[in-house]
């Protein structure tokens, strides 16, 4: 774990080491080799991320594959108007915000607490084992999990309902057929699947805390809880902000594969998200322009959120990624 990138090196301390060498080169020559190393990545990004963006123009056109890109008619903001003029579409946006928002919050708090708890474990082998186990679901695909979950959560005969009924004597819960429960299942299962990854990130930042601080605190008579509150938590703040900022970009990502494999007509009103909506329109119905418009709307919102979150963390936590 100690080899993992710590916040210090993210901040660029390593760079300082390389430029701080005794023999002074001109700045240009030092940077040249670095620039060259970055070049392939830049070119790839340009080709695969920026040039295709010109295709976004079809969001403002009535694109017909047969006619091609140039011959299709411009329609201005028609597709955007259509998106917001229909209440069902707006509902889809709300669903996305709610599901993604809940996932984001839970996906930040759970690994944070879990890392704190795991950090207190003394036995190294046990700690490593737990860490690996919680990371494992991350590698399962939602196609498989979707099947497993629908069996586990079945109203009659599902394991979870059997357990609940025998323990609490309640009526079986229709987890996947009731809108609110559906959202609950989606958020919990997503957190369960993904929290291992962020736990590792948090553990890495914990490993980077200077032990001298704890020693000093102990000398001053601080207990375990006080140490956690005054040393560990503040030290984890920067990485928490990074993780949170990155997650904000996903605020309109409800998680396509998960929802697609779990949803059904009974939960359309609470569970249909932008991605599944775009899938049905764009891939199933072949409405390229409209689905591009929705995608563009999504990207713009995410972009604005990331930029503002970054600004805020820069201003209040004095944190910078670059």
């Amino acid at each position: 774990m100690k080899n993992l990138v710590t916040p210090a090196s993210v901040k660029g301390e390593k760079l300082d080491v390389s430029t701080g060498k005794p023999r002074k080169k001109s700045k240009w020559r030092t940077n040249l080799s670095l620039d060259l190393m970055v070049m392939p990545a830049l070119i790839l990004t340009l080709i695969f991320a920026y040039i295709p963006m010109t295709g976004l123009a079809i969001a403002f056109k009535n694109y017909k594959p047969g006619l091609g890109f140039n011959a299709s008619k411009w329609v201005g903001l028609d597709h955007f108007e259509y998106l917001f003029s229909i209440p069902e579409n707006v509902q889809v946006i709300w669903n996305t915000l709610i599901i993604a928002g809940l996932k984001m919050i839970a996906g930040l708090i759970v690994p944070f607490l879990f890392a704190l708890l795991l950090n207190e474990v003394r036995k190294m082998a046990f700690k490593k084992m737990v860490q690996t186990i919680v990371y494992m679901p991350h590698f399962l695909s939602w196609v498989i999990l979707g099947g497993i979950l629908s069996d586990l959560l079945a109203r009659d005969g599902g394991l979870i309902n059997q357990a609940l009924v025998s323990m609490f004597g309640i009526k079986p819960i229709f987890f996947l057929g009731d809108g609110n429960w559906f959202r609950f299942v989606v958020v919990v299962s997503d957190v369960w699947k993904e929290f291992g990854f962020n736990t590792i990130v948090f553990l890495a930042s914990l490993a980077g805390i200077n032990p001298a601080l704890y020693e000093a605190a102990e000398v001053d008579g601080a207990g375990r809880w006080q140490q956690t509150r005054s040393i560990t938590m503040p030290a984890m703040l920067p990485i928490t902000i990074v993780v949170g900022t990155l997650a904000l970009g996903n605020v309109l990502n409800g998680g396509f594969d998960q929802i697609f494999n779990l949803y059904n007509a009974l939960v359309f009103d609470k569970g249909d998200i932008i991605d599944t909506f775009v899938y049905r329109l764009g891939i199933v119905d072949g409405k390229f322009s409209f689905s591009t418009a929705v995608g563009l709307f999504k990207s713009v919102v995410s972009f604005v959120l990331i930029v503002s979150a970054y600004r805020i963390s820069y201003k209040f936590a004095n944190y910078r990624i670059f």
Binding site: P65, I86, E88, K287
Partner: protein, 568 residues
């Protein structure tokens, strides 16, 4: 055959295609003239575009295409789709060299996606594209203007048997007609192939001393007994009467529930003909209400699983094959897959095919089968347009034609059949005795199933089920099928008057495209809620009103315009 000028509405809807077609030409007449000039002198002095003798091109001509490799497609002897017993056969027997521009393993609609990409990136199209699936893609392909009037070529080159097969149901051309031209050649399928029959656990019926239901009331008695009287005898109440899965649709291809509505004269998820010869969307017709009330009741009583709305067609069959459900409705081929799994899971289980029961007024209704599942498009720049017909004619004249003896045992020895040393013909069930295993080589063909004469198979199966002696090799082959399959086929044919066919076979209309997803979502949501008793049956009226006002009435008008246009 349908006359060319009768498709004004379709023509209006395909203006985009027209624009593409007419690009560079002054007008329609010029275009036709130009097409006439395209053809070399060969078309006048000879039928074929290249030297042709004894049913074969003397020097092989090339035909380029693309191909989806489905997961069920198997190869042996190190072959692949580009080079196998089928491509060798085409070259040796017909002098046609089939070249694949690309192939794709067809998962998650990869073939469709790749075709779309090809279309959007303006890549050069292959000589022929055969595609089964989304009509909107075929429509987009046609609209690209890169394909020729296939109907004209069909009239010129197709053999008599091929033409007769196509004439069994002239409406198969409808989806591909643009401005009076038949732009795609329909890929024919077996008629009645997906029409449903009812499978019942015969051992359960006997055990509970019940008789097979022929009416709704009798059916409910059986359902109740299957649900509440512990038919599997394990002392637990863990069985359901009926397996249905309507995550996708009520009226669907397996584990379906369309027939429940058919008992009341409705058929959801398709366009039905009304008494005044108009088309109406089944899911909003008033007869639906009684069907919904029935489903709601069955859900409440536990006759159907409360997960039914979450299950797709395949998932819903699991309860039946696991021996936890007593009735399932689906096509005759379910006797081959997946129903044999039942005996694997419950060794002494026994199922039997029965006719669909009648509703309170004696009505029986089931969905039909589309006789064409897709189309072959022919590139307007294809050099030897006749080659496709030489290929397909041969298959129709020899593979599909029951009187031919060319493919007596199958397509290729050592692939889909073999002959043992004692002269016995080995087939699929003797797969382990065929070296390298049984491989269904006919699936390598350009239109995926060789060639099919629509009405032939099911009628022959029914005839054989009645005890007729097979009179030729084709009938003999069919008679070797699972006996239960023959019985199911006979029931399908016996009940063929109950078919409620999908009447709308045109390309999706303008409003269907712009509002389709919204209307479908609305429909699924409310129908599910009613069945789950989360909304009263009367909510249906509110739904119909909402459906009508948010675009449904426009769709209905457009569909009826199309219907009128094909009736002229």
């Amino acid at each position: 055959m349908i006359k060319k000028m009768k498709f004004s509405a379709t023509a209006v809807l395909s203006t985009a295609m027209l624009a593409g077609l007419l690009a560079g030409c002054g007008g329609n007449t010029n275009k036709e003239k130009a097409e006439g000039e395209d053809k070399p002198a060969a078309s006048e002095d000879a039928m074929y575009s290249a030297p042709f003798e004894n049913g074969k091109y003397t020097t092989p001509v090339t035909l380029t295409t693309v191909f989806p490799i489905g997961s069920s497609l198997k190869f042996k002897n190190g072959e692949n789709i580009e080079n196998n017993v089928h491509t060798k056969w085409a070259k040796d027997t017909l002098g046609i060299d089939i070249k694949y521009l690309w192939t794709v393993s067809d998962q998650n609609n990869a073939y469709e996606t790749k075709l779309r990409l090809m279309l959007t990136s303006g890549e050069k199209m292959p000589d022929i594209i055969s595609f089964r699936g989304s009509p909107s893609l075929i429509s987009d392909l046609i609209d690209s203007g890169q394909f020729t009037d296939a109907g004209e070529l069909f009239d010129k080159y197709a053999s008599d048997i091929y033409k007769q097969a196509m004439a069994e149901e002239p409406t198969v051309w409808n989806p591909y007609i643009r401005d009076g031209k038949r732009m795609g050649i329909p890929i024919l399928e077996n008629a009645y192939n997906n029409d449903p029959v009812m499978y019942i656990r015969e051992d359960w019926l006997k055990k509970l001393n019940l008789k097979a239901p022929s009416t709704l009331a009798e059916l409910e008695t059986v359902l109740d007994a299957f649900t509440n009287q512990d038919p599997d005898g394990n002392g637990k109440k863990d069985t359901t009467g009926l397996s249905v899965g309507f995550k996708n649709n009520l009226n669907t291809w397996m584990s379906e529930a369309g027939w429940v509505f058919g008992m009341f004269g409705a058929m959801p998820n398709q366009w039905n003909k009304t008494a005044d010869n108009k088309l109406a969307y089944g899911s909003v017709q008033p007869e639906m209400k009684q069907g919904l009330a029935t489903m709601q009741k069955w859900m409440k009583e536990g006759y159907i699983s409360s997960e039914s709305g979450l299950y797709d067609e395949a998932k819903a069959t699991e309860a039946f094959t696991a021996g936890k459900s007593g009735i399932i409705v689906g096509p005759y081929w379910m006797t081959g897959w997946p129903l044999p799994d039942l005996q694997k899971n419950v060794p002494d289980a026994e199922f039997k095919a029965y006719p669909l029961p009648a509703g309170p007024d004696g009505k029986i209704g089931r969905h039909g089968t589309k006789i064409a599942s897709g189309a072959v498009l022919i590139n307007k720049d294809m050099e030897h347009k006749d080659a496709f017909f030489v290929y397909q004619n041969y298959l129709f004249d020899n593979w599909a034609n029951p009187d031919s003896t060319t493919f007596v045992n199958g397509f290729a020895k050592g692939y889909d059949y073999d002959i043992a040393q004692d002269g016995k013909v080995l087939k699929e069930q003797d797969s382990d005795k065929i070296q390298g295993g049984w491989v269904d080589a006919i699936r390598y063909t350009l239109t995926y199933d060789g060639a099919i004469i629509p009405n032939l198979m099911m009628n022959t199966l029914a005839k054989l089920a009645e005890g007729a002696e097979p009179s030729n090799q084709y009938e003999k082959n069919l008679s070797e099928r699972i006996p239960e399959q023959l019985k199911a086929a006979k029931i399908i044919i016996d009940q063929k008057d109950s078919v409620m066919p999908e009447m709308f076979t045109g390309t999706p209309t303008e409003t269907q495209l712009s509002r389709g997803d919204m209307l479908e979502k609305l429909e699924k949501e409310i129908l599910n809620k009613i069945i789950y008793d989360k909304a009263p049956v009367d909510e249906f009226d509110t739904f119909v009103e909402k459906w009508t006002t948010t675009g449904g009435d426009k769709v209905t008008t457009e569909v009826n315009e199309w219907y009128e246009s094909i009736q002229k």
